[in-house]
């Protein structure tokens, strides 16, 4: 187990290093470059100034040399300033991470709180109306464009009925209730898109468990349906579910980019989008890297959860 973890961590580290280079290279290929932007904002700059600035910021070097220089600075904690926000990159990232975590965490908990009971019920009565309903809803969820769903919810609840604000966050100092009103639509969008496939996943996992011998034993000993499903079944049925949860862990931080952008929720997803669109190279680079690191971490976590929850699984051997 320990050896496996070490190997996996090493692998993740290699991927992170590779990705940092790829992302660095890609960002360099974005339209415009920082010096051009500076020059266009300041009419007094001469071409000589531009060349001097380019040399100052290493922009005349080939990409791998610039990358190595950047990497060296990054390791000493020097991540640069964000152009859009006029603040050090880390100061911008902190609040964005928090608000994404609030949004995604809430949506996630709500979706799971619905998906587990629904999925278990569907599995305990296969081919019932509920079972078909779950299936249908799951298909609808994976087929819905989230930006359209967001627009439709907005049209219905904000424009037509005027019940909810159409985006943003509550003004500072407003009460919890007011903040919840701003969260309702983005959370609802994310939940509607995900809850069907989560339920279907719980259902599939439970269906498998309920076919096992020990479930038949429990029934033979006279345990009621309720006890069999919720006590004996659920425990083992949850193992793959926890794995999926850990896999979603990364997206918890990189955020629902589209939903955040539409509802102007100031989280990581919107930050990544805005920094890419706004030529904010330093910020885009770090935000993307952070998203990559967290996603990889989530995958690692999923493997560990899997092994810890189910002693029958031995990872790191025979692979």
């Amino acid at each position: 187990m320990r050896q496996y973890l070490l190997a996996r961590s090493a692998q993740s580290l290699v991927v992170i290093l590779l990705m940092s280079f790829v992302i660095y290279g890609l960002i360099g290929l974005m339209p415009g470059d920082p010096i051009d932007i500076l020059a266009s904002e300041d009419p007094t700059m001469t071409p000589e100034d531009v060349a001097a600035l380019r040399a100052l910021y290493d922009l005349d070097l080939p990409v791998y040399e610039r990358y190595l220089n950047w990497l060296g600075r990054a390791f000493t904690g020097e991540l640069g300033y964000s152009r859009l926000f006029g603040q050090p990159v880390l100061d911008v990232l902190g609040p964005a991470l928090v608000s994404t975590l609030v949004l995604m965490g809430t949506a996630f908990i709500v979706a799971i709180a619905i998906a587990i009971p629904v999925g278990v019920l569907a599995a305990s009565k296969p081919r019932s109306a509920l079972d078909y309903g779950v299936n249908l809803f799951a298909f609808a969820g994976i087929s819905l464009p989230s930006f359209w769903l967001a627009l439709m919810l907005m049209t219905l609840l904000c424009v037509t009925l005027g019940w909810l604000p159409a985006g943003g966050t509550a003004p500072a100092g407003s009460g919890v209730l007011e903040q919840l009103r701003y969260m309702l639509l983005p959370v609802a969008t994310i939940v509607i898109v995900n809850v069907g496939s989560y339920s279907r996943f719980v259902r599939a996992s439970m269906l498998e468990v309920l076919r096992k011998d020990y479930i038949r034993t429990a029934r033979a000993k006279g345990a009621g349906q309720w006890r069999v499903v919720w006590r004996h079944g659920l425990r083992n049925g949850m193992i793959p579910v926890v794995t999926i949860l850990a896999l979603e862990f990364g997206s918890l931080f990189s955020g629902a980019l589209i939903v955040e952008t539409i509802f102007s929720w100031p989280g990581m997803g919107k930050l990544i989008f805005d920094s890419i669109m706004g030529n904010d190279f330093n910020l885009a680079l770090i935000a993307l890297l952070l998203a990559t690191v967290l996603t990889l971490l989530g995958n690692l976590l999923a493997d560990i959860c899997y092994a810890k929850l189910d002693p029958r699984i031995v990872i790191g051997e025979g692979r």
């Binding site: 692998q11 993740s12 991927v15 990705m19 992302i23 890609l26 960002i27 360099g28 290929l29 974005m30 339209p31 415009g32 296969p126 081919r127 298909f139 609808a140 994976i142 087929s143 819905l144 464009p145 989230s146 930006f147 359209w148 769903l149 627009l151 439709m152 907005m154 049209t155 904000c158 424009v159 037509t160 159409a166 990364g250 997206s251 990189s254 980019l257 589209i258 952008t261 539409i262 997803g269 990544i272 989008f273 890419i276 669109m277 885009a284 935000a287 993307l288 998203a291 990559t292 996603t295 990889l296 995958n299 692979r319």
Partner: protein, 300 residues
Amino acid sequence: MVNNNSPLVLALRRFTRHKLAMTSGMVLLVMILLALCAPLFEIWLGVGANDVNLLNRLQGPSLAHPLGTDELGRDQFLRLLYGGRVSLFVGFTAAVFSVVIGTVIGLTAGYFGGRVDAFLMRMTDSFIALPGLPLLIVIAAIDLSKLGLPDAWVQSESVSLYRIVFIVALLGWTGEARLVRGAALSLREREFVMAAKGAGASHRHIMFHHILPNLLSPIIVAVTLSIGGVILVESALSFLGLGIQPPVASWGNMLTNAQQLIWEAPMQAVYPGLMIFITVIAFNFLGDGLQDAFDPKAEY
């Protein structure tokens, strides 16, 4: 009828019993026909899909404009048809490309096994672990002329179409690679592969003539299921202004302005999204039906 119980006939019979999948197939057929006939509708209505008419902005449905007009006075119905062409084209081509990449990688990994397999699968795992949408956005936003591509080509209208196909295929092959690898891994131990080996067939011959034909049904299912996903990604990128570039219509970019117009013309946003939803869910049902038809043991 000598052989009316061949696997294909059996699969076809199971498929036709799958009502949802059959209906989805019909819906898609109609949609493809409508999209192909878009120029005919242009002639019939007497306007072009990109004809701007600022005196006719945001009109409601009428005989001249069956679904009304958008903020530039363009006919919504015609733009939906042309958007369908784009979405379906991108969906098909990107799905086929990603499945081709996935199949080559999965087949190589599964057939050779050992170190080749370990390396390719670690690579696939790493690709799966990347944050998809943010990366897609970066790649979609890069300036192609900085890659040294000719300016005339970079500025042509169709470039955003090819670019999106390329981008989606680049990150979309991982699921197929795993699927094909798993199947190839079990097939390579089968007797007919041994026999081919014994007869002196080359690796390439075994891979493409003996193993690949046996993978055809899961590959067809994978293509069908991934078309829906591709259309969703394309429309999301186009919606964000990074996919298909106006004036070329796509279901995604028809929604770009919908948020600004939400107070003025809330109905604007309904149709393009509905088209995306119907198309994607139809492909998903179709894929599900095909899967059941080819592999009746799975599920239930």
